[in-house]
Symmetry: C2
Subunit: 262 residues, 2 copies
Amino acid sequence: MCELLAMSANVPTDICFSFAGLMQRGGNTGPHKDGWGITFYEGKGCRTFKDPQPSHQSEIADLVSNYPIKSKAVVCHIRQANAGAVCLENTHPFTRELWGRNFTYAHNGQLAGYKEALSTHKLLSIGSTDSEQAFVWILEQLRLNFGDQRPDDSALYRYLGQLSQRVARFGVFNLILSDGEFIFAYCATKLHWITRRAPFGPAKLLDADVAIDFKKETTENDIVTVIATEPLTIDEQWFKMQQGNWLAFVGGEIVGQPEAII
Amino acid sequence: MCELLAMSANVPTDICFSFAGLMQRGGNTGPHKDGWGITFYEGKGCRTFKDPQPSHQSEIADLVSNYPIKSKAVVCHIRQANAGAVCLENTHPFTRELWGRNFTYAHNGQLAGYKEALSTHKLLSIGSTDSEQAFVWILEQLRLNFGDQRPDDSALYRYLGQLSQRVARFGVFNLILSDGEFIFAYCATKLHWITRRAPFGPAKLLDADVAIDFKKETTENDIVTVIATEPLTIDEQWFKMQQGNWLAFVGGEIVGQPEAII
């Protein structure tokens, strides 16, 4: 399995603290030694740092841990390979263009028996993972369903929820998807989230002896949501997502969830 | 204008030496201060480091200069903006999927009056540069002309040459395009290249006080071609490409050129 991390914020915010904790799970406090990647959005553009090397000994991960790139939407993944070799083309996150935006995707879980049902015609996988194939299938379905025009947000989120449930029939499918504006999270088995806002307090990482006082790093208007497979801090209250549920965040706030829950 | 750099090699080779020279032109020995990017292929996968900051003061450029990522195909660009704001979505290289491969592209020059002729329907620009629009137009034309199947190499290179000439009607269009296997270069006004092979000798950068002895860095079977807007070394013989000409390299060797020249 793998671990997911994502951030949605209302002001450009760095993710160094959370990233430093997660990277320890890449071969040190966790078994996810088969590569890692992180995508930072800045406007409509994004940049991805990735490495098929274990994150806890990656020079590039060190740079990202210490270099505060500020972003309002971040998608991150560390990999424990189950399908597809350990190589760059199988390293998450994956990014593709749709409707003139960069869509970025990372998956935790494993699918089986999906090849016919999730086959694609226009968008093709580059690597050999179940994860990438599910991604290009989702994008192709969005295109087939909505055509050349992006729908309104609520229709998009609802349909992403339906597509996620269809993929999840083939195994475990915990998903993070972003276009730089929203972060969409689908929980098949395990995802947690926390929203930090004023009054900010201290926090301590679970995986490394690192503490932070968010009060010193933020202004009182900041709203920052972090989503992760497992909670990253030991002294804060994280919410556990319900299985089969999805949430959409913009600017750190929930902007969409299944109607039955609202 | 901008500067281009590309490498084609028959064994995974690092580009630290050439990159260190080029990065000096990003605001120090040259005026190209509006961002930079570099894409390394490893198999079918690729990773891109990019920064809208000037390269000569970029921490990420420092990492890439000192961290020997070995690759058989590299595409690099430093930008002096003329069309489109200085931001991440306008920073080259650009990468898109076609025929299950990552196609990566960088452009030196400026286009005008192209918007109708180079409009696209399925692939859309994410940023606002003439460069990215020419890229998505080229990919869309490849798809329209050859369909869902990649043609053989010579047909692909010939058609890329024709498409490049069509784009070049709208201004200056020096182009580097790669799918990780080939490096395609089209020269509208200025491109130089050099192939290094045994017996290897020393070389000294034009833009920094750095020298290298390639004999110590290589084996006698290595073949490495570097393509750049301007020669990067002062003590080697670089070839100047003819205007309106294209070349395709695989494994450091020329594998395609216009028939009139063969």
